[in-house]
């Protein structure tokens, strides 16, 4: 199987959609002449033209609104919001419109739109540019929220997201674009709403998504050296949550720690942990643990920022303290 990085996997999925369906177009800031802020759409303008690769003014609210309208008009828009932090300017369009129009019209209309955006911290971009707001979208009925951790899932999930008839928030982690992985030549998709066990283990379940999956896998290696065999579940889709895969794993291991980049209080880990103890209480050897971001705006300084984010060492230490292993 050919290796490719996550950026190329997403690009490939976008090109396929543009090639296969004239109704698909991409609207975003600097995706054309600038060749994409993260180079995902590099070369697209030249290949598909300015009608389908639309450079937008800096107007996030109207970008999403125009995406919604074009979807109501029968198109299949892909809206690129440069980073998820800027979604704060389009929140009303996403939450009050994209997510609710099907319901408020009782199915007369639907919004087959994908919003691609870049999430996460760790790049020393400071407090306003380092958030993981996909967690909020994962609470909104009417939205589907996806956050892949590797190229295989990224391609499989972008395919499913574009095919989906409802709004999907597709969050790509800025620090994962260069990560490499094998991607089959044969066509495949990764269905929305399905988590995946990325490492099999018997002693403890680590649940994560996006970049934190790699932190969890790293932690699992350290634990392995100590004879603790950790299972790592990659949620992949944050809404709808694949409770089954998570709960099945915990029923087998009896221990669970959820790792996420979002601030610890009120993050997705709280939902996952609550669900686990609701559905597997009698299987638990102890409380379900959570490792999340420190409760501060992201600092610019690299050492401070690193201290604010979960890493393998913090996860392992936390597990020691929690379970004494």
């Amino acid at each position: 199987m050919p290796e490719m990085n996550l950026r190329d996997a997403v690009s490939m999925g976008l090109r396929e959609a543009l090639d296969a369906d004239d109704r698909v177009f991409i609207l975003g800031e600097d995706i054309g002449e600038f060749k994409g802020p993260y180079a995902v759409t590099n070369g697209f303008l030249e290949q598909y033209g300015a009608e389908r690769i639309i450079d937008s003014p800096i107007s996030e609210a109207a970008m999403v609104g125009a995406g919604i309208g074009s979807a109501l008009g029968g198109l299949r828009p892909i809206i690129e919001i440069m980073t998820i932090n800027f979604m704060l300017l389009a929140m009303d369009q996403v939450v009050n419109h994209a997510a609710k129009l099907r319901y408020m019209s009782n199915g007369q209309i639907k919004v087959p739109m994908v919003i691609r955006t870049v999430t996460g911290g760790g790049g020393q971009l400071g407090a306003t540019h380092s958030q993981s707001l996909e967690v909020w979208f994962a609470t909104v009925p009417g939205l589907t929220v996806v956050a892949p951790s590797d190229p295989y899932d990224a391609l499989g999930l972008i395919r499913s997201s574009i095919e989906d008839d409802d709004p999907v928030i597709f969050a790509e982690h800025a620090l994962l674009y260069r990560i490499k992985g094998e991607v089959p030549d044969r066509h495949y998709t990764v269905p929305l709403g399905m988590a995946k066990v990325k490492r099999h283990g018997t002693d403890i379940t680590l649940v994560a998504y996006s970049r934190m999956v790699h932190v969890a896998l790293e932690a699992a290696e350290v634990l392995a050296e100590r004879g603790v065999d950790a299972e790592v579940v990659d949620l992949r889709t944050l809404r709808p949550l694949d409770k089954e895969t998570v709960v099945d794993s915990v029923r087998r291991t009896g221990k669970a720690v959820v790792v996420e980049e979002f601030w610890r209080t009120g993050g997705l880990a709280a939902e996952v942990a609550s669900t686990i103890q609701e559905e597997a209480f009698d299987y638990l050897d102890g409380p379900v643990g959570r490792v999340g971001g420190v409760e501060v705006p992201a600092p610019y300084n690299g050492t401070l920022e690193a201290a604010a984010l979960p890493n393998a060492a913090r996860v392992v230490k936390y597990i020691e303290d929690l379970y004494g292993i």
């Binding site: 639309i54 109207a62 008009g73």
Partner: protein, 325 residues
Amino acid sequence: MDLDYAQASAFYEQMLLIRRFEEQSGRLYMAGKIRGFLHLYIGQEAVAVGAMSALRSDDYIITHYRDHGHALARGMDPNIVMAELLGKATGSSGGKGGSMHLFDVSRGLMGGHAIVGAHLPIAVGLALSAKYKGEDRIAVCFFGDGAVNQGEFHEALNMASLWELPVLFFLENNLYGMGTHVEKAHAGGRDIFHGADAYRMPALQVDGMDIVDVREGTMRAVERIRSQGGPVLLEAMTYRFVGHSVQDPEAYRDSAEVDEYRERDPLVTFKDRCMKQGLISEDEAARIEDSVNDAVAEATRFAEESQEPSPESLYDNVIDASSTE
């Protein structure tokens, strides 16, 4: 005024239908059969009827929460509208949308939207889809003077003009946004259409109390959009005779102002002119009065006798084929 008999009667009948429908809605609200927010269109009838008379059946219509007039003028069945206001299963959204969210996709009516200013970018997207597909339909977006101060007004007009999209931005300036006079909210003053210059967008102003002026202005605007492509801002100066919503004490305006505008009641003045010119006879006027009263009575009966939505419908149309826990 070059109208033929049929047109004169039809326009008068449509305006009267809206007037009586709204009066009845107000009564049903007081009777507790309509709940939530109810915003009546009384006084502005000439705008919706005049505007719709100049549009094509394949054009898109999108409007705000004060939407009964637009829905009825676009030919939506009063029974279905009234049933929605009463929250019944037979309503246009099965009772899930209510007064502020009227949709009739079969007539290109893409809602009824309750967030001030937010549907303007959606109209831009509808127009984008039309241009993208090479259709010559246009998107007509009705909104009020209060919406002009929302950032999305600016973003939407800029995009539409920049990309030369077929949007008719139809501003119904009734001088108030809730209790705030236009001159206390808009630095540009009472005559908002001048603001279109900033977007190099053609704009015009019509007398919203005169259906003929509205109709002719709309024809000019639509003709320009279809022939040259870009958007137009059309401002209709109008007035609501009743409160912002059904429970508005109207502390912010004195009754003298209201009386003054009631002197120019668009129904009365139009009817008088038509009669003077022999376009509508006494008998015809009486027939119209009867048929409108019958239609409103029938709509009320239909709505009241309709079933409540089924409990299961709560879960329908959140996303495709979804029923969430």
